[in-house]
Symmetry: C2
Subunit: 382 residues, 2 copies
C-alpha cells in the first residue's frame, strides 16, 4: 500500500515519507508525467539522476495503446517503463472529459472514441479499476467526473454526487481484487474530491470519500481556469476535510507558486506536464525566473542554463549550445531542457521540505515567489 | 596530434591505440556521427556508457549553423557538444557534393547555397581548414572533391588531381596555423584518397597525399554504390599505398560486413550514420541479424532487444515496450534503439580487436557474417 508517515508539521504544511511497494519517497513530492509509458525523451536512469523519485502514468493513453492487457503481459507498468520506483496512474477520467472524444456520460459510465483508431470505449468505474490493476502501479485513482472550469454549480453538484458514487464502485471492485495488481503487489486506491470552487460541494465531496476510508485522497478539478486565489480558497478547507494520516494529492498542478500555496495548505503530492512540456519548447525554469532559450541573445552565451544548478545539462552544456540544438531541431535540445526542468522541480521540492523542517516555509515561499516571478531575468524573458 | 601506435598485426589487420589531445582510443574504432553538434537524441553520458569513445562532427552543418565562429566562442566543438573524448570533423566536401545545393566547382573552390537560409558559400581548401581550426576537433579532414559513384573515369581523374592539390593547400594553411585550433590544442590533418574503383588513380592519389607527410590518411569515395567486391579491390591496394605508422580511416562505411573486409585490409577508423539512423527507424542490430521492432510479432515479447546484450536498453526494456514506444511516437523509442545499436557497434569493434589479438580475424569474421546476414532471425525480419 501507499502509507504516509508525517514527520514534521509547519503550520498546515507537512513533511513526511510515502512508503510504497516500490520504495519510499519524501513528501511533498512532485511527479513528472509519463503519458504513454515514457516521460518524453528521457530514460528512467536520467530521471533518477535528475532527482525524480515517483512518476505518473496516464491510464487513458495506456488503455488505448498498447492496452492494459499488453502492459500486464509485459510484466506491468514498472517493467514496461523500465522504472523501478513508485508509479501513480490516473483513472483516465480527466483525459476522457477534456478531450474531444467524449460521446456520452451517465451514471453508469463515460463513453468515448479512441484517438488512436476511432473505436468506442465504455469506461465504467469497475473497468477503470480493472485496467489500473492490470497496469499495476503503486497508486491508482478512482474514476471521477471532471466538469469544465466554467461549469454551472448545478453541473458541478451532479459531478460531485456521481464521483462519490463512482468512488464507492471503484472501492468495491478494488476490494474484490484484494487491492492486488497484475504483478501480485498491492495497489493503493485514492479517491478524488470534486466540487469546483464551491466550498459546500467540496466539503460534501470530501465527506463522502472519507466515509470509504481510502488509502489516500486527491483534489481534482483545480487548475482549470479558476485562478490562484480561488484555488487557495478551496485548498483552505482541505486540512479539516481530510484525515491527517493519509496522503493528499493535488492533481495536475505544477506552477511553483501554486505548489507553494498548496503545500502551505497541507498537500503532499503533485503532478504536472509543465517541466517536460515547457522544456520541449525551450523554456527553462530557474530560481530567478524562466529563460526562453531560443532567444537570439543566448547565441554566444557560454554560461550554463542556470549557474546555480548541478544537473547534467547545466554541468555539460552552455545556453548557446542548447539554443543551437533547438535551432537545428536536434532532439537533444528538448531532452536537455526537460532534464534541467525536472532537476529544478526536484531541487525545488527538496527546498520546500527543508523549509518545512526549518519551520519557516511561509516566509521562505514569499521570497522564492518574488525572485521567481519578479526577478529581472524572468521579467525580461518570460 | 593524433598518433597511432600499432600493437598487433594479424595478416594486414591492425590493432592499436590512437592518441589524441582528448585521450586515447583503441583501434579499429567506429565513430558515430554527430551531424549538427549532437549524436541524435543521445547525451554524451549515454554515448560513453554505450562504449562510444570517438565521434564525428559534420563541418557542413556546423559552418552553416551555428557557424564555426560561434562554436569557437562557445569554447570549441568539445565544449559545445559536452563531449570530452576525441572528435573528428569532416571537411564539408562530401555534403556539398552530395546535396542538391552545389552551384559550381572549379580548381579554386566549391560554391554552394545553404539549406538553412539560401545564402551562397564559397568553400576553398583554405576556408575549410580555417573552419575546422575554429571548430577545434582532434582530427580534421582536407577538402576533397567526391565525384558520384557512377562518374566516368575522366571525371574521377580530375577529382584525384584536384583533391591532391587541395590537400597541399589545406596542409599549407594548417601549417601556417601551426596545426593549432581555436582552443589552443593541436588538430591533426588527414588527407583523403580518391580515385573511384580505378586502381591506378587510387595509387596516384595515395602517392600524392603521402608526399605531404600528413598525420593520417582517409579513403574517400567508397560505399557510393560500387558494391562490396569493388570496395574490397580498392582496399586491397591500401596496405602498400599508405605508410604503416599512420592511421587509416575509411569514410562513411558502417555496414558490419564492409567494416570486417576493411579491417582485414588494414583500416583503423570508421564512421557511419547507420546505427543511429536505423535506430530511429526501429531497426536493431544484433549478432544474429537485424530486428524491425515495429513488427506486430513483438507486441507482447517480454525479451530484451538482444538477450546477449548488456546495454542500458537491453537491461531495462522489452521488445514489446520498445515497439509500443515507436507505435506511440514516443522519442524514447528512437533513443533506446540508437543506444542499443551504438552499444552493438562498440561491442562489435571490441570483438574485432580481440580477434586480431587472437590472430584469427579472418575465420572469425566469416562466422560472424554467416550469423549476421543469414541467421534465421535476420532473414525473417530484415
Amino acid at each position: 500500500m501507499a502509507c504516509l508517515h508525517v514527520d514534521t508539521i509547519d503550520g498546515r504544511a507537512r513533511r513526511g515519507v510515502l512508503t510504497t511497494p516500490h520504495g519510499q519517497v519524501e513528501t511533498p513530492v512532485f511527479m513528472p508525467v509519463g503519458t504513454a509509458g515514457s516521460v518524453k525523451g528521457l530514460t528512467p536512469e536520467q530521471l533518477h539522476a535528475a532527482g525524480v523519485r515517483m512518476i505518473l502514468g496516464n491510464t487513458y493513453h495506456l488503455m488505448l495503446r498498447p492496452t492494459a492487457e499488453v502492459v500486464a503481459r509485459l510484466g506491468g507498468l514498472h517493467a514496461m517503463m523500465g522504472w523501478a520506483g513508485p508509479i501513480l496512474t490516473d483513472s483516465g477520467g480527466f483525459q476522457v472529459f477534456s478531450l474531444e472524444h467524449l460521446r456520452k456520460i451517465d451514471d453508469e459510465a463515460a463513453t468515448f472514441t479512441s484517438h488512436v483508431d476511432g473505436a468506442t470505449h465504455v469506461l465504467t468505474p469497475e473497468r477503470a479499476t480493472e485496467i489500473q490493476l492490470l497496469l499495476a502501479p503503486d497508486v491508482m485513482m478512482q474514476l471521477d467526473e471532471c466538469p469544465p472550469g466554467d461549469a454551472p454549480r448545478r453541473q458541478v453538484a451532479v459531478a460531485v454526487d456521481r464521483s462519490a458514487r463512482w468512488a464507492r464502485r471503484c472501492r468495491n471492485r478494488w476490494q474484490e481484487a484484494h487491492g492486488i495488481g497484475s504483478t501480485g503487489k498491492p495497489v493503493a486506491l485514492f479517491g478524488i474530491q470534486q466540487g469546483g470552487v464551491h466550498a459546500d460541494l467540496r466539503a460534501e465531496s470530501a465527506r463522502r470519500l472519507v466515509e470509504l476510508d481510502l488509502p489516500g485522497y486527491a483534489v481534482g478539478g483545480l487548475s482549470v481556469g479558476e485562478g490562484h486565489e480561488a484555488m487557495c480558497d478551496v485548498l483552505d478547507g482541505l486540512d479539516e476535510q481530510l484525515p491527517a494520516d493519509k496522503p493528499r494529492y493535488l492533481m495536475g498542478v505544477g506552477e511553483p507558486r501554486d505548489i507553494l500555496a498548496a503545500v502551505l495548505r497541507g498537500v503532499d503530492m503533485f503532478d504536472c506536464v509543465m517541466p517536460t512540456r515547457n522544456g520541449r519548447n525551450a523554456q527553462a525554469f530557474t530560481w530567478r525566473g524562466r529563460l526562453r532559450l531560443r532567444n537570439a541573445r543566448f547565441t554566444e552565451d557560454a554560461r550554463p542554463i542556470d549557474e546555480a544548478c548541478t544537473c547534467y545539462a547545466c554541468r555539460n552544456f552552455s545556453r548557446g549550445a542548447v539554443r543551437h540544438l533547438f535551432m537545428a531541431k536536434e532532439m537533444l535540445g528538448p531532452i536537455l531542457v526537460s532534464l534541467h526542468n525536472l532537476a529544478f522541480f526536484a531541487e525545488f521540492m527538496a527546498a520546500v521540505r527543508q523549509a518545512i523542517s526549518a519551520g519557516d516555509l511561509r516566509a521562505t515561499a514569499d521570497r522564492w515567489i518574488e525572485t521567481m516571478y519578479a526577478g529581472a531575468e524572468g521579467a525580461e524573458t518570460d
